[in-house]
């Protein structure tokens, strides 16, 4: 039984570490976008390298958590949902890394008049994912608090949609100096940033149902 307790303790530490990795990854993503929009290439590349490491670490942690849960039959009734939740959280950092990579490879032209909108879009989209982490942590200790913590996730997701909509409208309706290719490219990039908050929303839906089942 002592071996079992140790496994549980180690697993809870690893789950916390996984959440930390995702949370830091989101912060790095926001800083990375800021650096790119402000033209600080060195800082951007540093952030890209960091998020790459963090994404690899999150993958490893996710696999080891899943493995331990199956091998030691931990949380047998919630296991499939837990695995899905971990996968969806990992999806957030994956999307963040992919977004920064898109910037690195495609080097989209961000007009200075759009700098503020771009930064605030990445902020709200990142905030949506960031707010998911306290809710996920609460699921393990205070499942009754999960729903109220998730309200912010849904709020920021809606804000992201609004911000992206406004920006696309501005690009296509007001910025006639941009070519259609540039406009399409910006639209494509905003879509990538939006994906982060969409992934956060999917994870939030799952987390909410898991919390309800815990409370019943």
């Amino acid at each position: 039984m002592s071996l079992f307790t140790r496994t549980n303790r180690e697993l809870s530490v690893r789950i916390d570490e996984f959440f930390d990795t995702i949370e830091i990854g989101i912060l790095i993503f926001k800083e990375g976008i800021k650096a790119y929009v402000n033209g600080d290439r060195n800082a951007f590349q540093n952030h890209l390298a960091k998020i790459d490491d963090l994404e690899g670490k999150a993958d490893k942690l996710q696999r080891s958590i899943e493995n331990d849960m199956i091998v030691h039959s931990i949380l047998p009734q919630q296991r499939s949902e837990m695995v899905k939740l971990l996968w969806q959280l990992d999806e957030i950092i994956d999307t963040a890394k992919k977004s920064l990579n898109e910037f690195y490879i495609e080097m989209p032209h961000i007009p200075s008049s759009l700098s503020h909108e771009f930064i605030s879009l990445s902020e709200v989209s990142g905030n949506s994912a960031e707010e998911l982490i306290p809710a996920a942590r609460a699921f393990f200790r205070e499942p009754h608090l999960v729903r109220e913590k998730l309200i912010k996730v849904y709020f920021f997701e809606r804000e992201t949609d609004k911000a992206a909509y406004q920006m696309r409208k501005k690009v296509f309706h007001e910025m006639n100096d941009l070519s259609l290719a540039e406009k399409a490219h910006i639209r494509y990039i905003t879509h990538h940033i939006e994906n982060i908050s969409d992934s956060a929303q999917d994870a939030a839906d799952l987390l909410a149902s898991m919390a309800i089942r815990q409370m019943l």
Partner: protein
């Protein structure tokens, strides 16, 4: 020869182990919180301990109902109960070993012209009703307590699951002990008056004749658990309502407490000492107590989670099982006595006094409250099912 006659009791014990161990560890094994091997070994050990240490009380009550005073009679009574359980299970009808053995003993009483002790019968029938009700009440309160505690202590889910696992093993052991203590009377109770064994002195402890029989019965139950309960354990718990590990813990605990209450002579003595009426020591159906406990949790969560048909089937089982077992026992006793010329029992001497004997008036007097209770249960069932139907329709409408 004794062992030949005991085979029917051992068969009954084996079926009890195969089916009823799932009430103790089924939810834990079904949810993969506890491995089958660990559950089966724990249940087997504690069933035997419970049967030997605390099996006497419930067996005495069954003995009062009908003291089967010939080995042939005991064999036939146990076989009739076993066959009733077997055939009713195969036919998909609700059945309980406890109710089958009581019906078979009454069948023996009628066949051998022995009076039925109406006091013992009333005690037994009352506990059939109070058992599941108490199970529901305990489960409701315990589940509420578990939920409040969980909220207060803010323990990490993994640590909490770990404690639940330990809790499931502990209450499972307690449940197996209570099952052995309470239900051994069904298996070996009828043999106690007809097989008087001498005390066995093992130096540090002495086993009475009845305890030796209970030990054998306990081994039969353990054999049933180890050889045939795996499938039942892995499928139990989802028939009535899907159980979480927390709910499984509460169900097993409340069932163990109810079975313990109805088999503990010390607890009954304590009640008398503090001026309260004694608790009747009666074998109760563990399955029905489990159903009552699950119902208690269902009531806590809201009625719509429960399969209400099960309620009706329990109430119908209170009548159909003893009647079927009684009729079968009567017929089998007739065959065994007249075809094989085996002594199946004789009227008990000294003759039973008029007050204790069963007459038509007594039967009617006790049937009326029983029928009233069954009608009340049926009405509750109707009201709840109607409510559930309305909820379902409303849900469909709003969707």
């Amino acid at each position: 020869m004794i062992f030949l006659f005991l085979t029917s009791g051992l068969f009954l014990g084996w079926t009890l182990g195969a089916n009823d161990a799932s009430n103790v560890f089924g939810s834990a094994v079904g949810s993969r919180m506890v491995s089958f091997t660990r559950a089966a070994v724990t249940a087997s050990v504690f069933v035997i301990i419970g049967a030997v240490v605390q099996g006497g009380g419930a067996a005495d009550t069954l003995g009062r109902l009908g003291s089967v005073n010939a080995m042939g009679g005991a064999f036939t009574v146990a076989l009739a109960a076993g066959l009733t359980v077997y055939f009713m299970t195969r036919a998909g009808l609700p059945v309980s070993t406890t109710q089958a053995i009581v019906g078979a003993i009454i069948g023996w009483n009628f066949f051998t012209d022995n009076a039925v002790d109406t006091r013992a019968l009333t005690q037994i029938v009352t506990t059939w009703i109070t058992g599941p009700v108490l199970g529901a009440v305990f489960a409701y309160l315990l589940y509420h307590l578990v939920k409040i505690t969980r909220r207060r202590i803010k323990m990490h889910l993994l640590k909490y699951e770990n404690w639940l696992r330990i809790g499931l093993m502990t209450v499972g052991a307690f449940g197996a002990y209570s099952l052995g203590a309470n239900n051994i009377a069904n298996v070996m109770g009828v043999f106690v008056p007809s097989i008087p064994l001498e005390n066995a002195d093992f130096g540090i402890f002495v086993l009475s004749g009845a305890q030796q029989l209970f030990f054998l019965g306990g081994i039969a139950i353990a054999a049933g658990i180890l050889t045939y309960s795996k499938k039942v354990m892995q499928t139990v718990g989802t028939n009535l309502m899907e159980l979480s590990s927390e709910a499984a813990f509460v169900v097993v605990l409340s069932q163990a407490v109810v079975l313990f209450i109805f088999s503990s002579a010390s607890l009954s003595g304590f009640m008398v000492r503090i001026g309260l009426p004694p608790i009747p020591l009666v074998p109760v159906s563990s399955t029905q107590v489990v159903v009552g406990s699950i119902l208690g949790i269902g009531l806590y969560k809201g009625v719509s989670n429960i399969n209400l048909k099960v309620l009706g089937s329990i109430a119908s089982g209170w009548i159909t099982t003893p009647v079927a077992a009684g009729v079968l026992a009567f017929l089998m006793l007739f065959i065994v006595k007249n075809l094989f010329s085996i002594d199946v029992g004789h009227p008990v001497n000294p003759p039973v006094s008029a007050g204790e004997g069963v007459s038509m008036a007594t039967i009617i007097r006790y049937s009326i409250p029983v029928l009233l209770v069954i009608t009340a249960v049926y009405l509750v069932y109707l009201v709840l099912s109607e409510k559930k139907k309305t909820e379902r329709l409303n849900k469909k409408y709003y969707e």
